[in-house]
């Protein structure tokens, strides 16, 4: 029936709105927006790193304040933890798929890697984000010989917060990342498998 008419119908359609812009005005607005987004990204990066840097500074200072060996080990873990968070955030940013100019299959593969990286970050949150400060706190509390009741209250409080973060991330991995990665994988295989058959 329509085989040859499809293009004609599509191109002659009046269903779509017509796009209009003033070239000079658009150029100015795009430059302005780009600068705005650059600033936004820089501020976000600074905000993210400030938290980790503060942990490093406070833990570093704690090394000289507290005398107990266990507390000092806790502080060293704190310093290492701050550095680890900064590295993990930096590594994730490196994987962001900004290269939109790549051919689509390559772009999709890079995008898949990026999503897989984000998923790993979320599913391993207990190891790189939650466990180190928990251990550091535990060592600090024992080192400072706080009472068993205070120790239990503090650790249970932290544990409750961590459980919330852990299960929220686990849900995100299951409900968001896995289906998305499956979809991208499917798109990649649709393009590549049929390429191999020809």
């Amino acid at each position: 029936m329509l085989n040859d008419e499809i293009e004609k119908i599509w191109q002659n359609s009046n269903k779509f709105e017509v796009v209009e812009f003033d070239k000079a005005e658009l150029q100015g607005e795009l430059n302005k927006n780009l600068q705005y987004f650059d600033r936004l990204v820089k501020r976000r990066n600074i905000r993210e790193n400030i938290g980790a840097a503060l942990v490093m500074i406070l833990s570093g200072a704690g090394l000289f304040i507290f005398n107990s060996l266990l507390s000092q080990i806790g502080m060293i873990i704190g310093v290492l933890y701050g550095a680890l968070v900064i590295i993990m955030l930096w590594k994730t940013k490196q994987k962001r798929p900004l290269a939109y100019g790549l051919p689509t299959i390559e772009f999709l593969k890079k995008y898949r890697d990026y999503l897989a990286g984000e998923r790993n970050l979320a599913s391993n949150v207990i190891y790189w984000y939650l466990a180190p400060p928990y251990v550091a706190c535990l060592l600090f509390f024992i080192g400072e010989e706080i009472s068993i009741i205070h120790l239990a209250i503090n650790l249970l409080g932290i544990l409750a917060l961590y459980s919330f973060i852990f299960f929220r991330n686990k849900k995100g991995v299951k409900k968001t990342f896995n289906p998305l990665i499956e979809k991208v994988d499917q798109a990649i295989s649709e393009l590549t498998i049929e390429t191999d058959h020809i």
Binding site: L2, N12, S13, N14, V18, F21, L30, Y100, G101, E194
Partner: protein, 166 residues
């Protein structure tokens, strides 16, 4: 050099603006606004200018980025509404007079609905084909051989016809 490229880009965008918008419309669901996606595409195109290496024509490059951004938009976990930029200088005007007769309008509606139902890769290929791009250009955009593009177009058209009849 970059200023020169920026002017070429604006000219290319002007030439292809409606085609890009049609592609965006085909990638948005009823709950999404194609105008948001269009503006996101334009901003990302602008951001990507420094990466243009003259390895393909600027038109091909522009479509490649458009398809990639549309595919990313369909497969993202980020709350898109939070990040979409509003470009005040871009206006969307409803067409004033119908340029096609009602029978064609009906066919068009069926075609549009059928395209939306295609899976994303078929959709990319058929949209680029409907916008008049050569097999070679489509191949360059998607990283496929011309033969492969031809076969995929044929299959996509058969699927479209089945979907339009159903």
């Amino acid at each position: 050099m970059e200023k020169e490229l920026e002017s070429i880009f604006i000219e290319t965008l002007e030439r292809n603006k409606d085609r890009i918008y049609r592609i965006c419309c085909s990638y948005t669901t009823e709950r999404e606004d194609p105008r948001d996606l269009y503006q996101d595409v334009v901003l990302n195109l602008w951001k990507s200018i420094p990466s243009f290496r003259h390895e393909s024509s600027i038109d091909t490059w522009l479509y490649r980025i458009t398809v990639n951004i549309c595919l990313r938009a369909r497969n993202t976990y980020i709350n898109k509404n939070k990040f979409f930029v509003k470009l005040e200088s871009i206006h969307f005007r409803k067409p004033e007079e119908p340029s096609v007769v009602s029978e064609e309008n009906e066919l068009y509606q069926k075609l549009f609905e059928a395209i939306k139902k295609l899976d994303e890769t078929y959709k990319s290929i058929i949209l680029l084909h409907l916008e008049g791009l050569s097999h070679k250009s489509i191949g360059e955009i998607l990283c496929l051989s011309e033969n492969h593009v031809a076969v995929r177009i044929k299959r996509a058209k058969s699927r479209l016809l089945i979907l339009m009849k159903s």
